[in-house]
């Protein structure tokens, strides 16, 4: 039953890993390798906060919109969520069309003040 798991013997590849300017030889685990790179917040990118469907799109590229205008609807968890303009501006890109299914954090629209 006791499995021999002396990993060192199994020709493990060690990579270099820096903590506080010191370089260590070690293995990286799955969670570390799969971590997502950080993206700073971009107010021009209107993203889906949940995965869902797009039943309605109210704007097209080049439209001038006012703060609070409903730009499109993201249907998620049986709720029709209004995606509204965060500020007065111009729509510079519409990346979805009616009927699309979008994952979380998908850039739906781009807007410039």
């Amino acid at each position: 039953m006791e499995k021999d798991k002396n990993l060192i013997d199994k020709e493990v590849v060690f990579t270099e890993f820096v903590v506080d300017d010191a370089t260590y030889k070690t293995q990286l685990n799955k969670m570390y390798m799969n971590r997502k790179p950080y993206e700073p917040f971009n107010p021009s990118h209107l993203k889906s906060f949940m995965p869902g469907n797009i039943p309605e799109v109210h704007v097209k590229e080049g439209d001038e919109v006012k703060e609070g205008d409903i730009l499109l609807i993201l249907e998620a968890m049986k709720m029709k969520n209004h995606i509204i303009a965060p500020f007065d501006g111009k729509i510079t890109a519409v990346n979805v069309k009616v009927g699309d299914k979008v994952p979380k954090n998908h850039i739906l629209l781009e807007i410039k003040p």
Binding site: V19, D20, D21, A22, T26, L28, K30, M50, A76, K101
Partner: protein, 515 residues
């Protein structure tokens, strides 16, 4: 009717009930590569030790024509038995009876055997294999789950609770295992999730298989919900049999002592395990095996957050809980997952009177935006909390690096370790020499004609002065600097003299750990 007739009648009734969902359903269960609930109990317990109760319980559903259906035992088998003489209360959901679905009587049987376990002060083992709530029983089946969760919570820290996932365990049902101490899973058989692939697909449009969503591997490697991973049901049952040898019946007892055995020092030579360069990796489990009885180490959560190693072993016949940084993975850093993993184990050991032996070799907490945003502050605080809170004997051995917050967190004197030992290779400092030199001598390095050379000199200077155990020893933060091959002798003695340890703590309802 004579006694003979009545006995025959009993036997007949029993035969019907013992067959569960019937021959066809049993064959279906077996064709999925699964044992039946009864086979599992028999395979886990000592021969002839299983005593079943509530065999004739009938289900209580009346709607949707359920009153015309007969569900033997209402889909769950409950009873008591022994594992190597160790008494347990046990229940196993029977998938052959209405898919092991949970109705109110099914839940009452489980609640009853849990109440038994609490009154008898013996562990409870739950084998989960159920399609979930019995929809026909409506809110009654929800009530049933709630009763179980409440009992799991009251039993927590009083009696050991073991969950075995040998089939689906979905929706609210997953919260009973989540509240228990150890969760066992089997590859390709165990499936745990709150919402299944179908719901996820219809609501969110995301496609994923059951295995990828909540299979045994996922819970062993990624979520940390499972503690023991097995390739087969047989292996899983063996793991449970082994676990119960290390734990006590309840929180007022100690685990049974075993005959003392020396470590296999020929195989695990402590002097050969650690590389001289503090930045070279090694397997810290070999150090544990070099000091534990018979070089036995029973690892918990082997696949999850492998930068921290936790598990049980024995020193001079008595169970101890080992907590160790693993330099072989992520240089042994503390991060969100490893802190969480260690903290929970420390609390289990403390609740069940198992002394803690901590082996320290870490460069500190893992730097990174993802870690900071994932809450490494509150998760990292869990390990400080649980070590500080623990009143069992606490013995710490610093093998090599113990830098910064990592030094404090890994059961330092300041968190009330009873004994702190350090090897001559130990480096106890606010940070590693490279980082420290870069900060302390920043200007000297910057203004030097040859910055790189000066930097190297300053690193060496710092190393000489601080990268050793003697500065900490001079302050009395370390009780003894010991030769590595003396480690077991010191640990054995430390455990001997602390066997009657008692510590008074301020009375409170409960603390507020950084959950």
């Amino acid at each position: 009717m004579s006694i003979k007739h009545k006995t025959l009648d009993l036997k007949k009734r029993m035969q019907g009930a013992l067959l569960g969902g019937g021959q066809k359903a049993i064959e279906k269960q077996q064709s999925m590569g699964k044992m039946t609930a009864r086979e599992r109990i028999v395979a886990l317990l000592d021969p002839n030790s299983f005593h079943e109760y509530d065999l004739f319980v009938e289900h209580a559903a009346r709607d949707f024509d359920m009153d015309k259906k007969h569900l033997p035992g209402d889909g769950v088998i409950t009873g008591t038995g022994t594992i190597g003489g160790f008494p347990v209360c046990i229940y196993a959901q029977d998938f052959t009876v209405a898919g092991g679905s949970l109705g109110i009587m099914h839940a009452r049987k489980i609640s009853k055997i849990m109440d038994h376990a609490m009154n008898l002060k013996i562990p409870i083992i739950g084998i989960n294999d159920s399609g979930g709530a019995r929809i026909q029983e409506g809110v009654n089946s929800l009530a049933g789950y709630g009763e179980i969760f409440y009992r799991n919570t009251l039993a927590s820290g009083v009696i050991p609770q073991i969950s075995v996932i040998l089939g689906p365990c979905a929706g609210g049902a997953v919260y009973s295992p989540a509240l228990t101490d150890f969760v066992f899973v089997v590859d390709k058989i165990s499936k745990m999730f709150i919402t299944g692939p179908e719901v996820i697909k219809s609501v969110l449009g995301e496609e994923i298989s059951m295995e990828e969503l909540g299979g045994a591997r996922v819970h062993s490697e990624i979520t940390g919900n499972a503690h023991f991973f097995a390739e087969s049901e047989q292996e899983c049952l063996q793991q449970i049999k082994k676990l119960v040898t290390y734990i006590p019946w309840n929180n007022s007892k100690k685990a049974d002592a075993f005959p003392k055995k020396a470590p296999k020092t020929r195989q695990y030579k402590i002097d050969n395990i650690i590389p001289t360069d503090p930045r070279e990796p090694y397997d810290v489990r070999d150090v544990i095996r070099a000091i534990s009885d018979d070089s036995d180490f029973f690892e918990v959560q082997e696949l999850f957050a492998a930068n921290m190693v936790i598990g049980f072993g024995r020193i001079n016949g008595e169970t101890v809980g080992f907590v160790a940084n693993q330099p072989m993975v992520l240089a042994g850093v503390l991060d969100v997952d490893s802190s969480d993993k260690a903290a929970r184990f420390i609390r289990f050991c403390n609740a069940f009177n198992i002394p803690l032996v901590t082996l320290v070799d870490l460069p500190g907490y893992l730097p990174g935006i993802d870690q900071e945003h994932a809450g490494v502050i509150r998760h990292g605080a869990k390990i400080l909390y649980s070590y500080s809170e623990a009143t069992v004997p606490k013995i710490t051995i610093i093998l090599r690096k113990a830098y910064g917050g990592g030094y404090i967190a890994m059961c330092s004197r300041h968190l009330r370790a009873d004994f702190v030992f350090a090897w001559p290779t130990a480096e106890i400092a606010v940070m590693g020499p490279e980082g420290a030199a870069n900060i302390i001598f920043r200007n000297e390095i910057k203004n030097a004609e040859n910055p790189e050379q000066v930097r190297q000199e300053k690193v060496e200077e710092y190393k000489k002065k601080f990268a050793n155990p003697y500065v900490a020893a001079a302050h009395g933060y370390i009780d003894a600097v010991i030769e590595p091959n003396e480690t077991r002798r010191f640990v054995v003695h430390a455990l001997e003299v602390s066997s009657q340890k008692s510590e008074l703590r301020p009375t409170k309802k409960h603390g507020i750990p950084p959950f």
